[in-house]
């Protein structure tokens, strides 16, 4: 139920990657029970843009180099005449900030396994397909991938490639599998690699627990209460009107053939 929310200072940099290491301190106000989910949040980032969404090849993710038709991936389909695996803009722009968490001086263990959907890992990204010729172009977009790890184990990539619905979105980074007590101080060290400056986007880091309904969520409750209140109000108005002007129901005697239509 509890959700903690810290804003990391926005870091601006150009396309030439200058890695900036910075630290931030988080104060835990309440007890947070494990598992605690770590998300990164991007704003004003159109992962749902038609060009972006279509720029992938599901067949390549399953069959690797055996699949040759990469037309949907242009312009990130070939580099130096060789196909790129995984191809397309989505993979190319893979998020590459990294975070590490310290309680006191001990680095906390962050579990970065099982953050992607199981069906994606098992059926959309094949165990036999390895990254190839990735980020070898003149312009490197985002993270590099270890060519020795098959795609099905590259969970960051899998999470990233499950495109977001809206321009503001969170993606799962990992889990902290120990409780955080109230008043704990957590130090975050982050490598700020990813460029959000050019499109005036922002990045946030979020630690959150979840309940049976998922994350902490006010809107639905608020919406329902306000709808309910407004309808009670309307019912009240109806009642007033009725008390003031009672009308007999089902009175067919007033129906006459030269009745004139009312509007509506």
């Amino acid at each position: 139920m509890l959700m903690d929310f810290w804003k990391v200072t926005d870091i601006n940099h150009g396309m030439i990657l200058i890695t900036l290491i910075c630290t931030s301190v988080i104060h835990i106000p309440k007890l947070m029970k494990a598992p605690i989910f770590i998300y990164y949040q991007l704003d004003n980032y159109y992962q749902n843009h038609r060009r972006y969404v279509k720029s992938r090849s599901d067949r390549q993710l399953l069959h690797g180099l055996k699949h040759h038709d990469l037309s949907s991936c242009a312009p990130e389909d070939f580099n130096h005449g060789l196909p790129v695996v995984p191809c397309g803009l989505i993979a190319w722009s893979l998020f590459n900030d990294t975070y590490s968490f310290f309680r006191g001086i001990d680095e906390m263990k962050v579990n970065r396994k099982n953050i992607a959907w199981k069906s994606d890992r098992d059926h959309k990204f094949d165990k036999q397909v390895y990254p190839f010729n990735f980020q070898n172009g003149t312009l490197s977009g985002g993270a590099h991938l270890d060519p020795k790890i098959p795609l099905s184990d590259q969970e960051d990539l899998i999470v990233w490639m499950r495109t977001s619905a809206l321009p503001t979105f969170r993606k799962l980074y990992g889990r902290i599998e120990e409780d955080l007590d109230a008043d704990d101080i957590i130090t975050v060290k982050l490598l700020n690699n990813y460029n959000t400056y050019s499109f005036t986007g922002s990045k946030k880091l979020v630690l959150s627990t979840s309940s049976w309904l998922g994350g902490h969520n006010n809107f639905l409750g608020m919406a329902c209460i306000s709808v309910g209140v407004s309808f009670i109000f309307v019912a009240f108005v109806f009642m007033l009107i009725h008390v003031k002007n009672p009308r007999p129901y089902g009175d067919t005697t007033n129906l006459s053939w030269n009745w004139k239509p009312m509007s509506g």
Binding site: M15, F37, Y39, Q41, Y46, Q47, N48, H49, R50, R51, Y52, L62, A74, P75, W92, S93, W117, K118, H123, K124, G141, R162, T163, S164, A165, T168, F169, R170, N195, S198, F199, S208, S210, W212, L213, G214, G215, H216, N217, F219, L220, A223, C224, V227, F238, H242, N245, R247, Y249, G250, D251, T252, L255, W257, N258, W259, K260, P261, S263, G264
Partner: protein, 1118 residues
């Protein structure tokens, strides 16, 4: 006629025509000219000259398509609809990279929709084809080269073939009668298939050919027929037979028309004159003008509105897309670098943003195409066909006595039945039974018959007279012979008068045998089919009963222009008598100068009879001298045998010459009883706000009285006889009565508007003495002038024009034949069924179609706009929020069946209550359920629903995890969530909009929702290559999340609330008529309701049983 070589043949043929023309310029002037150029070489179809003419074979095809042109032609028919063209263009463009989704997902619904319609066409056409095959392969005996009559298939017949047709067989083509099994060459023909008349018609062969009775006598039979070209007129035929060097005129009397049947004659021989599509009946087979309902025309406007909405939305989208795309590179710096705007195609190129925006506009047109409901037309067609089945199957519109159910001949106009504003009705046969009962007569100024007619009774009832109704109209009291005044000049003729009366009585029985086609009066009819009649009559001189016989010499036929008919007979004493009967208006003009003194009394009687609602006929006679007859006969025969277009005029003129100086005998009056339930029905229709106009050919007095009787005229309404200046605006409701002559003035260009103004301010209008053409003109005037829906109802051939002119034509398939029913849109057996047809079926169909169309637009707007809201959050890039196949199945599977169930089954109140509260019908007359505010209201509801669904879904779940395992909402899950809400909302909206639930509705509505989940599971189980974003999305991501289910529930409820609130407000504070009635039904206890319903059912049954018993009694007593 012979010439060397082919060219010669042609020239000689032309030459022969010119020869022919010169010698017969007067009478046969038309033959050989344009329109009269057909040449038939009898019994010589292989004649080279016949072959040159290349007349068509007897093969008949009534199908719209054949195997080769079916696909292109039916496709062409389909794409004449604007919406279908749009979808076709979209489907074509969808193969380009412009398309927001895959081509197959666009093509699939289009193929389903077009395929369904084409399938329907194919089935209909196949039925027609089967009939054709059956007809083409029927066998007939044709004369072959070996001089034998051999079985031949119909389709093999050629022009000029000799055929032999046996009793009860159909004629395979239009034949020229040569001879029959009777010596005098007559035969009897039944033409039910052509005009619905059940009486037999006599055809005469020419005397010269009637002797050809033996098969071998045809061995050397050679003749040439020259006649008119094929035409559609069933009642004319002009030709000349060249036989044995002589010429003989041919008329309709010798023509046996295809599709009629040989009756009471062993066999006939004939020559094929017209074949296949050139036969009269095929030439007649044109489609009736197709009518479209008002709702459908309005629907087109809504589609145009939606198209403009589509263009607007696409334009807005492409405008913003252009701007954002242009801003992707500013001063050479990449903004949204992850889209690689530096290396892109033209569709996303920031340097050519205007072009990109234009292409995006096209993409938008495809993406928001869901605003246009692709399945609307096909759904409406299916629904209307099913509605027609309901009309056809309605037990309460089934006429047991004639075994005739109601028949919706077109399904286009079902909902129009619910909007009728003006009812234009014929009188005879429509309001009345068209079975004439002889009730009164006036002979030589003395009135006979004391029975009271229905009209008199109704009038007496109105006046409050409690007179006894003991005497029924069938009790004709023939007072004794003594009471007849024996005026001097009458004496010699009294016999014939009595004879006329008696034979008339006799004929009223004969009438039932339908031997005559007229309403039948006097001896004339019995003379028609025989050449002589003998009557058993009382000799006045001797007082003994003797038999007399009369020989028929000529019949001067009835026509509506002449309004009379005559026979010329010769009695035993060689006296020549002309007996004439006709309408009083023409008959009194033709009486001789020295009128008998009872003329004015007879006129008085006629007036009284007319006021009593009877149909009157005046009978007169004339003695002819031998010389006069001889000279006239010559002229008449000449006219009759003339072969020209104005033959009828000539015959009429000849008849006119002898039908003068008549001596009045008297008048007869027959009662045409009102059909059962007519006054009640008209009363109900008037209560439903329908204006009733009666248009009839009857006399004014008859018309007024019938009008009073059927309550079309209120007794209070001041009679205002064709005075065109009226005092309007008074509180008295007026009735307008106008006769044919005044009508012809009133319908002139400069007066018709003021006439219409006057007429629509009157409560009821009666037009009497009107011609068929005037009927149609009045109908057109009302239709065009008021812009309201008109319904014309009639039963005879003279009503056809009216029926086709009106918005809806209802034919009574009654006694006068099928012609009206054949050209109508709906055929019913009795006038009173109109009540149920309009108030129940019309009202329901109107409601259903109106709601169905509104709902269609609602559901497509609700869906289409969620796409647009998503675009606003996807920088208008044209990315659809849903998986391609969710979208293409939206119209086809997830929302289509409930709306069809709505269109077929929904009813606001039961049929009994529809009839009990006829004012319910006003909702249709005033077009309340399909008014623009209502349509726009539904559209607004759609937009509102889409907004609530989109913004509630996104706001409620965005950012946060939606599951316990911390997974966040992504593109795939959002699509499923929104789509789930859309499917639930539109189906639940349906559930709260309809008034009538059966298991079918439940099955379709909840089934559609269930099918969505089933579809997700199935589609999600397919390989991710195909299912892409839908892979395992329900099973893995959504279903295990309680949030998904909870959000669906809350969002759907919130989406439905605005409509629910509106309905609550409206039924509480501003109820519509059906709301009031529904409420009343709810409040009255249900048992009472049931018992009332049962009571009504039983009452009807008991009544029908009683009636049957009574009929049997009368039969027994006879």
């Amino acid at each position: 006629m012979t010439g060397p070589g082919r060219k010669g043949i042609r020239f000689s043929r032309l030459y022969s025509f010119s020869c022919f023309k010169s010698s017969f310029r007067d009478e046969h002037g038309q033959i050989g000219q344009k329109g009269y150029s057909r040449v038939v070489y009898c019994n010589d179809p292989d004649n080279p000259e016949q072959l040159v003419l290349r007349y068509r074979s007897n093969y008949v095809s009534t199908t719209k398509y054949n195997a080769f042109n079916f696909i292109p032609k039916s496709l062409f028919e389909q794409f004449r609809r604007v919406a279908n063209i749009y979808f076709l263009v979209v489907a074509c463009v969808s193969f380009s990279p412009l398309a927001p989704y895959t081509a197959s997902s666009i093509l699939a619904p289009l193929i389903v929709v077009i395929g369904a319609t084409m399938g329907k066409e194919a089935v209909e056409d196949w039925r027609r084809r089967k009939q054709d095959i059956e007809a083409n392969n029927r066998k007939v005996q044709a004369y072959d080269r070996n001089h034998n009559f051999q079985d031949t298939r119909w389709k093999k017949l050629r022009v000029g073939d000799l055929v032999k047709v046996y009793k009860d067989e159909y004629f395979p083509a239009d034949l020229l009668l040569l001879s029959s099994s009777y010596e005098d060459g007559i035969c009897y023909v039944e033409t039910t298939n052509l005009d619905g008349e059940t009486n037999l018609k006599v055809k005469h062969a020419l005397d010269v050919t009637s002797s050809l009775q033996e098969e071998n006598s045809f061995q050397h039979f050679k003749a040439i027929i020259k006649c008119e070209d094929p035409n559609e007129d069933l009642y004319t035929f002009v030709g000349t037979l060249y036989y044995d060097g002589q010429q003989y005129p041919l008329s309709l009397q010798q023509l046996l028309v295809r599709d009629s049947k040989l009756r009471n004659t062993e066999y006939v021989y004939g020559v094929v004159v017209f074949t296949g599509h050139e036969t009269k009946v095929m030439q007649n087979a044109t489609d009736p003008p197709s009518k479209r309902s008002k709702i459908e025309r309005k629907m087109d406007k809504i589609i145009y509105l939606l198209f403009s909405m589509l263009i607007l939305v696409s334009f807005v989208g492409s405008f913003f897309f252009g701007i954002t795309t242009k801003n992707d590179i500013v001063d050479g710096k990449l903004k949204r670098w992850y889209l690689r705007p530096d290396r892109t195609t033209v569709f996303y190129d920031p340097k050519r943003s205007a072009l990109a925006a234009f292409f995006h506009f096209l993409t938008g047109l495809m993406l928001y195409g869901y605003l246009i409901p692709i399945s609307l037309y096909v759904s409406i067609e299916i629904v209307k066909v099913l509605q027609s089945i309901f009309i056809n199957q309605d037990q309460d519109m089934y006429y047991e006595e004639m075994d005739k159910p109601a028949h919706a001949r077109t399904s286009n106009l079902n909902e129009e039945l619910g909007q009728v504003d003006t009812l234009l009705s014929d009188k005879t046969g429509t309001l009345t039974c068209n079975s004439m009962d002889f009730v009164k007569c006036s002979i030589a100024g003395v009135a006979y018959g004391r029975g009271m007619t229905e009209v008199e009774r109704a009038l007496a009832k109105r006046k409050g007279d409690a007179s006894d109704f003991g005497i029924t109209s069938s009790d004709i009291q023939m007072s004794g012979d003594d009471s007849v005044p024996s005026g001097n000049q009458l004496k010699p003729f009294l016999r014939s008068i009595k004879k006329l009366v008696k034979s008339h009585m006799k004929l009223s029985h004969l009438m039932k045998l339908r031997l005559s086609f007229l309403q039948g009066n006097l001896a004339l009819n019995s003379l028609k089919t025989q050449t002589s009649i003998s009557l058993h009559e009382l000799d006045h001189m001797s007082g003994r009963k003797i038999d007399r016989s009369y020989t028929l010499l000529h019949i001067l036929e009835f026509s509506s222009a002449r309004k009379r008919m005559s026979v010329i007979v010769k009695n035993d004493e060689n006296q020549l008598l002309l007996l004439c009967k006709g309408a009083d208006s023409v008959m009194f003009e033709r009486l001789s100068e020295d009128v008998p003194d009872f003329v004015s009394t007879t006129m008085d009687h006629i007036k009284r009879y007319a006021e009593a609602g009877l149909r009157t006929l005046v009978a007169a006679y004339r003695e002819l001298s031998e010389e006069e007859f001889k000279s006239w006969e010559e002229e008449f025969l000449e006219a009759q045998t003339s072969v020209s277009a104005d033959r009828d005029a000539l015959v009429d003129a000849a008849a006119d010459k002898i039908e003068r100086d008549l001596i009045l005998l008297g008048a007869t009056a027959v009662e045409d009883k009102l059909q059962k339930g007519v006054p009640e029905c008209i009363d109900k229709l008037a209560n439903a706000g329908i204006k009733v106009w009666v248009i009839t050919g009857d006399k004014m007095e008859t018309a007024i009285n019938i009008g009073l009787q059927v309550q079309a005229l209120q007794i209070k309404s001041k009679k205002e006889k064709h005075q065109l200046s009226s005092s309007e605006g008074s509180s008295v409701s007026f009735g307008l009565i106008i006769d044919g002559k005044s009508l012809s003035f009133a319908l002139s260009k400069n007066l018709e508007n003021s006439f219409l103004d006057l007429a629509i301010n009157c409560a009821s209008v009666i037009c009497c003495r009107s011609t068929p053409k005037q009927k149609a003109l009045v109908t057109r005037l009302v239709k065009k002038g008021t812009g309201r829906t008109t319904l014309a109802i009639g039963d005879g051939a003279n009503d056809v024009g009216m029926l086709q002119e009106a918005d809806i034509g209802v034919g009574i398939s009654g006694v006068e034949g099928m012609q009206a029913a054949m050209s109508s849109d709906f055929a019913i057996a009795q006038f009173r069924f109109l009540e149920r047809l309009l108030l129940v079926h019309g009202h329901w169909c109107y409601r259903r179609i109106a709601l169905m169309i509104c709902y269609f637009f609602y559901k497509n707007i609700a869906f289409g706009f969620t796409l647009f809201w998503f675009e606003t959050h996807a920088s208008f890039s044209g990315q659809p929020a849903y998986n391609d196949w969710y979208m293409s199945f939206y119209n086809v599977f997830f929302t289509s069946l409930p709306v069809i169930a709505l269109g077929v089954f929904d009813q606001d109140v039961s049929a009994r209550l529809c009839l009990k509260y006829p004012m319910l019908y006003l909702e249709g007359v005033h077009d309340i359920l399909f008014s623009w505010p209502r349509i726009l209201g539904w559209m607004l509801n759609g937009i509102l629903s889409s907004m609530i669904i989109f913004f509630f879904t996104t706001s409620s779940v965005i950012h946060q995890a939606f599951r316990q395992d911390g997974q966040v909402l992504d593109f795939e899950v959002l699509g499923v969530m929104m789509y789930t809400c859309v499917v639930w909302t539109v189906n639940c909206q349906m559930a709260i909009s309809i008034n009538y639930f059966t298991w079918i509705q439940h099955f379709f509505i909840w089934g559609s929702i269930a099918f969505w989940y089933a579809f997700l599971v199935m589609y999600g189980a397919i390989s991710p290559i195909i299912s892409t974003t839908a892979y395992q999305v329900l099973v893995e991501a959504c279903a295990p999340s309680p949030f998904y289910w909870l959000a669906t529930l809350l969002i759907v409820v919130s989406t439905l609330l605005p409509y629910f609130m509106y309905r609550a407000f409206q039924t509480e504070f501003n109820p519509m008529i059906h709301d009031i009635i529904q409420r009343r039904r709810l409040e009255s206890s249900e048992e009472e309701e049931a018992s009332v319903e049962l009571f009504f059912q039983h009452k009807e049954k008991i009544a029908s049983v009683k009636e049957k018993l009574r009929e049997q009694e009368t039969l027994l007593s006879k």
